[in-house]
Symmetry: C2
Subunit: 271 residues, 2 copies
């Protein structure tokens, strides 16, 4: 659906296509509602402000999504906002006519696999402090990293800055546990501040778990006792092997998985 | 023109729109031909190989562009290639149906202004070695930097890495002269390897000018005796003030401007 039109198309001068000039959210549709919608909305609105895009009118958005997903109990909704059509050149139009694309994708059947084999990606994460944390349409690094992990037959891969600082997985955030401390990369240089990452951090605070959002280098990641990945669709998934070394999940991962389940994230699980 | 269809549109699931998954070239159309087409083609083909996109068939491309620009003596051609429609998610289709968009833009009338006031941008350049040098559709850093220079009423701005290494202008490459040495940033971390940059480096070699493609930090750029910007459309333009300090152009800039003019780049000029 493009700007409210089912079956709509995009103009070839759309700045989303020309420059990746926009943002998106990928949201879980569960039992006839958008899960964690407030968190998705908060990131989207923050992104609009940082990119200088008009903040969308929420009621209309919700109505469009609900109409599209009507009758479905489970699926994925992708909402994309771009700066819309523009003249040639990087200069943004003074009054952009934002393009709004909403897609509904029924979930593929079958339970998620229990194993999650992860390794370091050779493809680095793109770094830019002014874009860091946002889910922008500039995602070529993730695309190339995904190609790499498919070729290497991994389930996921960890992307780092060229300087070796951990950013996240190709389509998830990463957490590690060492001692009784929960660690996750700070995202001032790159990466996406995932909504499930935010929920995990809130759960950890509620549970009184010592947490650090901090710079994590590759060597530190290789010495984590437990690791898990988070994503709005797949919840919390323990990493069962990292860089060839088997990993299990202990009491902190279990506690966080239970806390997420209690908040309606049915997919969250420990090993 | 989309995939050969005048007035064609894009599907909303095009990966160019979804992830900036593609490349483009912006080329000068002069006297019924694409200027520096071989160089544009070389960068495009190199980009296709690096992104895993099928390399386009050249004869068909040239025919489409020529048909679109038929009867025009002067203008700008933008050629965009994206990985085409795809499923949701970063994973690229195994056999992509590349989307090809060609646009022709008549040049706006009037000579280019003689002054070129440039300053450092606060918006940093996005850094990623696997994308560096390519003209990918991931250009949000340039978009935001362009917004910054418009707001500051500059003619152009110099973008640096977060660590303060010079990359280039928002829509041009940058050269500096110090002593009798021509310097330009090496582009292993970010930026676009411009076709006019390549031609200037070739001219400099022919003229026997000592040239260094090297890391240039902000402080070094502030101590250049001359500076100029290069771009496929605007040729060579001397910077007339940088960070508030007036600059002129001396014998090396003049020699290079003349060398470009001799190669058909009519826009190249010294102060």
């Amino acid at each position: 659906m493009v700007n409210g039109q089912p079956g709509g198309t995009l103009r070839p001068d759309d700045r989303g296509f020309a420059y990746g000039d926009g943002l998106f959210e990928t949201m879980a549709w569960r039992d006839g509602a958008l899960r964690l919608f407030d968190r998705h909305l908060q990131r989207l609105q923050s992104g609009c402000r940082r990119l200088g895009l008009p903040v969308p009118e929420i009621t209309g958005l919700v109505e469009e999504i609900s109409a599209l997903a009507d009758g479905q109990t489970r699926g994925t909704v992708r909402l994309t906002l771009s700066r819309g059509p523009g003249q040639r050149g990087y200069t943004a139009p003074a009054a952009p006519a934002v393009t709004r694309v909403i897609g509904f994708f029924p979930d593929s059947p079958g339970p998620a696999p229990a194993a999650l084999a992860v390794d370091l990606c050779q493809v680095p994460a793109s770094i830019n402090p002014v874009l860091a944390g946002l889910k922008t349409l500039n995602r070529l690094d993730n695309v190339l990293a995904r190609t790499e992990i498919s070729r290497r037959r991994l389930d996921e891969g960890i992307m780092c800055t060229p300087a070796g600082q951990v950013i996240g997985a190709t389509a998830a955030n990463v957490f590690g546990i060492r001692g009784d401390v929960l660690l996750t990369p700070e995202l001032s240089q790159g990466g996406v501040a995932g909504v499930m990452r935010g929920l995990v951090l809130d759960c950890a605070a509620t549970l009184g778990i010592t947490t650090r959002e901090t710079r994590i280098d590759v060597d530190a990641l290789l010495h984590m006792e437990e690791m898990f990945l988070t994503n709005a669709l797949t919840g919390l998934r323990p990493v069962t092997s990292f860089a060839g070394r088997p990993l299990g999940s202990g009491k902190l991962t279990h506690a966080l998985a239970l806390a997420l389940q209690a908040r309606g994230i049915a997919e969250a699980r420990a090993c």
